[in-house]
Symmetry: C2
Subunit: 170 residues, 2 copies
């Protein structure tokens, strides 16, 4: 009954509590913020590690997925060689089919063979000049002859075509 | 001179300042924490976006880097076919060389051809049974014959070997 006896003391206690509460409020807020910040920082650290792993795994998966597409090409090369023993004439036909298959694999991967470069203006983005030729019948600065074909679409050239460039006669 | 005149007022002012300072301290701390948290959260978001892009770019780079390794195989196939026209006997030799080159590409990518499976115990992790054969000379449950070779090291089989499995005679 001590409390009830002195209302003034009770009021002072309440005021103290209010003050204490006022002090606890920012402290609680600080603790909460520190906790949130710490958790976000931990998430950031985890993501950093996971990201590095994801990149490595993506590479591995892509390497396997591209490599596996070449196995049928290899199988057919082997078949062509096996048949060559019993029927030598068939090998050219077989190898031609394998070659077509290999071109299809590359095109499916997004790297079609670039044909029809002969006669086009030399473009260092997709041509690599291996030599030049002087020919009255050719326009100087154009591709006279493709030595080795290029692969890949414009803007994503996997390998430029090796070409002989026509030059002006002197 | 007003301040100097009443030391009691000065003391009260100082006390007020101390209280105000005490109040500003947690507020400043809260603002700092909020700022730190916000920056870490923004970093997390940026990393999330960058990570997704990194994975996509890693795939693209890997696809290109694997595909480009096959171009010399293709070039040599074409050369073998070109020579075949003038010298048909050479094509077998040429294709055999291309085949070896293709095996080397796969091995370099981490997927060597798996040879020597014949006679080994059938293992679903690296063998795929395409048929069975009953043969008194063979141990039942072993590989009687490889129809199509497997590729890739233990634990990272790119393709299991297609095999004929020896079974017990009944």
């Amino acid at each position: 009954m001590a409390g009830q006896e002195n209302p003034e003391t009770e009021l002072a206690d309440a005021a103290d509590a209010a003050v204490a509460d006022g002090a606890a409020e920012p402290e609680r807020k600080i603790a909460e913020l520190e906790d949130s910040w710490r958790r976000t920082a931990a998430e950031l650290e985890n993501l950093r590690k996971r990201c590095a792993k994801d990149v490595i795994r993506a590479r591995e998966q892509e390497r396997a997925s591209v490599a596996v597409r070449w196995l049928p090409v290899l199988d057919n090369l082997e078949r062509a060689l096996e048949h060559a023993a019993s029927n030598p004439d068939q090998i050219v036909e077989g190898v031609r089919a394998v070659h077509q298959q290999a071109l299809t694999v590359l095109a499916d991967l997004g790297y079609p063979r670039r044909d029809d470069e002969t006669g086009k203006a030399f473009d260092p983005a997709r041509h690599e000049a291996v030599s030049t030729v002087t020919d009255e019948d050719l326009v100087p600065g154009t591709v006279a002859h493709v030595v080795r074909p290029g692969y890949g679409p414009d803007g994503e050239i996997l390998r430029p075509a090796s070409v002989v460039v026509a030059t002006r006669s002197e």
